[in-house]
Every structure is written in C-alpha cells, then in structure tokens.
C-alpha cells in the first residue's frame, strides 16, 4: 500500500509542481523514488513532528500541496495541535499520511499500533479522513487529495496488502463501494481490514449466509444517503475496523441508523476499549486476538443471525461488543 502511495504521488507530482513530500525521518526503501525525482520538493524534516506540520502549513499557505509522511501515531497524535490549528483552522492543503494503520506494525508493539487515529482525526473540523483498503483505493485517495486540495488525513496499511478491486474506482469520494452482494447481512469495512471482511463473507457463504460487503475508504466527508441505501434490505449491519470501537467507523454508522424508524440492528467489530494490549503479536494474530479476523467475524455474524432468528437481540446488551 505504501508503494501504491508513492507511485500515485509520483504520478501526481509529475502533473502538478505544487506537490511536496515531507517525512519525519521514516520511509526508508519507500520514499527514495520521490526524493530522487523531485529533490526540490522533498524534505526529511527529522524526528520533529510538530515542526514538520508547522513547516508544511507554511508551505501550504504559500501555495504548495505538501504530503507529510510518517509511521502510525507520530504524524497525528504527536503533533495533533499543529494539525488542528496550523492546518485545519487555516484550511491549509496539507495531507497527513500515516503508514501502519491499525496493527500493521504488529509485534513492533503498542507504541506503533495506530488504533485511535481515526477517532482523533475525524473530530477535527474540515479535515478529510481516508483509510483506503488496498492499492487501488490508495491511488484514488491520493489523486482526489491532489485534485481537490484541503486539509486531509490518509491512513495507509503497510506493505503487501492484496489488490481487492478488479478495476479502478469510479465512485465519488464518500460513497461506499460494493464488493459483494448479499441480503442477510451488510458488512462494511474501512482500511486494510477489508481483506478479512471479504474472507469472512466467503466463510459465511459456505454456511449459506449471503453477506453484502461494502468498503468505505472515505470516512469524512461521507455520503449519508448513499450509505443508508447501501444497507437497504439486510437483516443486520456490521461495521469492521482495525481501530478502537470509539470514534471510528461504528460511530460513523451508528447515528445514521439510530435516526431511522425501520433500521437493521448494528454490531461493531473493532478494538474494544480496554482490550488487553499485554500481548506481543503480529498483525494477523493481533486481529485474531481482537476478534476481527475472518473466522472471528464469521462466527460472530452467524451467532447474531441465529439470535435474530430466535426472536432475540443479535448480541448480549452487556456492552461486550462496545
């Protein structure tokens, strides 16, 4: 995904000489092609994220379009106030790029788990928030942010994520993308966890459950009517995110459904507040640990549908999934 990012950015920078790439001394073996091709628009700002965002704001307010790149929480939470004030309040066309969304850095440990970034970034007024699921969505997001510059956040996975979309995207930013049809349950994911969601739908199909699969690469702004349309006709909606259940995709979808008279129940799959982080696991195992791997998702959905069949609520209302 990071290679898709740099390819798209190179392409964008060829066409638009206002595009810059700034990094916080991270990106070895990824960012070099940009540095070599556009040395005048490339900057390693050092291990100093607050200054990096401020400098990017100054460049952006002078007419440039900087993309600011670092790992996980460093370009967001370390310099949150610079993003809030210097970038968002000034509507400065800076795109903050975090590589390693969710548990992508796995056994590198807790410091490198980006699992609150979407909540924090979504809360900032005027900041567009995108979490592409694969290289195709990544390229679409980069081109959209260059074409229509403004304060933006781009959450990437790491490397090696499979291509999930057969063709380049035609959907406008903010609309959900349908990857699989089904009427029993709508599974909606954001970010690279979408691979697990598709695998879960396959497991469910093997037991006769038709799952609709939706991807939502843009969490802000999003097209609420299109999202509600995408849930039409299903018995259950499940949001899936490699992120805290607080403030991410579940909390984007929940108020939409809550305001509807006839609405399917909603289950949120993600990292529960207080989930044990006392474990050292790679990304695959970390997803399993949190119940957001394909098998965990499929098992949870199956149980929920059985409970609905029995006339019960889809899951225990004990806050277990909250």
């Amino acid at each position: 995904m990071r290679n898709a990012f740099i390819s798209a950015l190179l392409q964008a920078a060829e066409a638009d000489d206002r595009v810059w790439l700034i990094n916080g001394d991270l990106g070895y073996s990824v960012l070099e092609p940009f540095a070599e091709r556009f040395p005048e628009r490339y900057l390693n700002a050092g291990v100093a994220e607050q200054n990096m965002i401020g400098v990017a704001a100054g460049l952006a307010l002078s007419g440039f379009k900087p993309f600011v790149y670092s790992i996980a929480n460093f370009p967001t939470q370390r310099c949150l106030e610079q993003i809030r004030v210097d970038v968002c309040y000034h509507a400065a066309p800076v795109t903050v790029v975090a590589v390693g969304g969710g548990f992508a850095y796995g056994s590198h440990g807790y410091t490198h788990h980006a699992i609150e970034d979407l909540a924090v970034m979504r809360a900032l007024p005027g900041l567009r928030v995108a979490a592409p699921a694969d290289p195709v969505e990544t390229a679409a997001c980069v081109h959209a942010f260059v074409r229509d510059p403004g304060p933006s956040y781009l959450r990437l996975g790491r490397g090696g994520e499979p291509v999930l979309h057969a063709a380049p995207l035609r959907e406008s930013p903010g609309r959900p993308i349908r990857l699989r049809e089904g009427d029993a349950v709508a599974l909606i994911g954001t970010g690279s966890i979408l691979g697990e969601v598709l695998a879960a739908a396959e497991l469910l199909a093997q037991t006769g459950i038709a799952a609709r699969v939706l991807s939502l690469p843009y969490l802000k702004p999003f097209d609420a009517p299109a999202l509600l349309d995408a849930f039409a006709g299903v018995r259950l909606v499940a949001t899936v995110e490699e992120h805290s259940l607080i403030g991410g995709l579940r909390d984007l979808v929940a108020p939409l459904l809550a305001a509807r008279r006839d609405r399917p129940p909603l289950i949120g799959y993600g990292v529960r507040d207080g989930a044990s982080m006392d474990v050292i696991l790679d990304q695959v195992a970390m997803r399993r640990h949190c119940g957001i791997d394909a098998a965990g998702l499929a098992a949870g959905i199956r149980t929920a549908l059985e409970r609905l069949d029995a006339g019960a609520d889809p899951f225990d209302a004990d806050g277990d999934r909250a």
Binding site: N51, I53, V55, G58, V85, H90
Partner: protein, 283 residues
C-alpha cells in the same frame, strides 16, 4: 543567500515615525484592553516597539493587496498580544481603525488571541505557543523555492521558548540555512505565572540560539535604532537570524512595568486614565 532588500530601502522612515507609531499602539492597546476588560496588556506594551519597527521600517507589504504573493510574512507567535497586533494592522491600513473599538465584543472579528479570520493582514492565527516559528520557517522555505524574495519573521515570547517545538524549528531553520527567516524574541523576563528565571530559566539564552547556529543580535527591544540595525543585518549570513530583544513587561506605564500582575489584570477606570495620561505625556 538572503533576498536583496534594496527594494525595501525606500520604505525606511525617520526614526521618530516608528516611535510615534509605537506610542499610538500603546494607547490603542490600553483602550482595547480597558473597554473589553481583557488581559495581556503587559505583553502588548512590551512588544509595541518591535511591532512598530517591523511594520514601519522592515516588512514589505501592500495593505491594499494583502494577498500579494511577494509580501513578507509576519507570524506573531505570541498570539496573546492580539490587541497590539490588531492595532498595528489598523494603523498600517489593513482595516479601519474604528474596528479596534469593538475588540473582544460579540460578533466582530478581533479575538483575544490573534485570528486571521476576517482580519486582512494577519497571516496566521496564533494563541497556542510554540507554533509560529515552524510556520514562519515554512514561509521562508517556500519563498526560497519560489524565488519570491520574501522574508519571514516570527515574533516569539520568552515563555514560549519553553516549548520544545521552538527548538525543533530552530534546528530545522539552521539546517536548511534559511537566511530569509528572522525570529524576534520579546524577552520581557516575565511569563504567565512568574519570572522566566524562576519558572524555567532560559539563560544563557543568546548562547542557545548561537549553539543552534543562528546569527544572534542581543539588543534593547525598546530602542528603535537598535531594532532597525539588527533587522537590517539579517540575511547577510547563510543562517537564520535571532534577535533577542530585551524588553520590559508593561513598558511605558510606570505602575505596570515589570509586574506579573499586568499579564492578567485589566485596568480600572482610574488606572486606565493614569496610564493614558502617562503615555500621552511621554515624548
């Protein structure tokens, strides 16, 4: 290398003009703070001479064209000195002077910390300390890439230099040889809750900037000739310039000078009248 300043030279005015401007800034500030019952009058009075010299004699600006691409950029990073900033912008012609009379009221544009919203001439909104020098460095870098000849100036408070981000920016600017960047520190020796020496000492302050590879001028921040000379010297080395401007908090009003109280206190009617009388009586 620094952009040449030959085109700015014709803007230079006789010394008494910036002194007269500084006096007007102090009077505006007092009225604004008194009417709105707001704080930070001491910070405004200490920075008045710095702003007067910058706007009168140094910054290359077009008040009738605030977005002029080649303009110099000033970031007043000590955004709590908002009243003085708005006053100098009004005096310089960016907006009508009568706007100042509604400072802090509901529904107008002048907030207690500097905002760019609806206020032409304000480059950057400030109020959270430690942001401005980085943004100014970005302005300086952009000007260099665009070969626009523009310079960037950041005015910092002393207390602000407690923020680590200031020193990130200091490292960055020197590393990139941003000779078109100037930092002016309004070193009035009193921060929010005590003296700088007591809260978090900065000394040896000038040495710190030198060690960060800045060209440093240590001057009396109320001496307009010294301010002009230090600003004129900026850009002649392959380094950013730090002007450590020694100032007095509350400068110009004897009972406010060098007193922490006036970081917060808004003058009573008697105090306001006494302060105005003292300033108006001053040369």
């Amino acid at each position: 290398m620094s952009p040449g300043r030959t085109e700015a030279a014709p803007h230079l005015e006789p010394a008494d003009d910036s002194v007269a401007l500084a006096k007007r800034l102090r009077l505006h500030t007092l009225r604004m703070v008194y009417r709105s019952k707001s704080s930070h009058v001491g910070s405004c009075l200490s920075v008045a001479d710095i702003l007067a010299v910058l706007y009168k004699d140094f910054l290359n600006l077009r008040p009738d064209e605030p977005g002029w691409v080649k303009r110099d950029r000033l970031v007043v990073s000590k955004g709590h000195a908002a009243a003085a900033v708005y006053a100098v912008l009004a005096e310089r012609g960016f907006f009508p002077i009568d706007r100042l009379s509604r400072y802090g009221e509901n529904g107008q544009s002048l907030s207690g910390h500097v905002t760019h919203k609806n206020n032409p001439g304000v480059e950057v909104s400030t109020g959270s300390l430690g942001h401005g020098l980085s943004i100014a460095a970005g302005f300086a870098l952009a000007a260099r890439r665009l070969s626009s000849g523009a310079r960037a100036v950041a005015v910092l408070s002393d207390g602000e230099c407690d923020e680590g981000s200031v020193w990130e920016a200091a490292l960055f600017a020197a590393h990139h040889g941003l000779s078109n960047l100037v930092a002016v520190v309004d070193y009035n020796k009193i921060q929010s809750f005590g003296t700088v020496a007591d809260v978090l000492a900065l000394e040896p302050f000038a040495d710190k900037w030198r060690a960060f590879r800045w060209a440093v001028h240590e001057i009396d921040g109320h001496d307009h000739t010294a301010l002009r000379q230090a600003l004129a010297a900026a850009g002649h080395a392959e380094a950013p310039t730090a002007i450590i401007a020694h100032t007095v908090k509350g400068k110009g009003v004897s009972f406010m000078e060098d007193r922490l109280l006036w970081h917060y206190r808004s003058p009573s009617r008697d105090e306001f009248e006494a302060a105005v009388a003292e300033l108006e009586g001053a040369a």
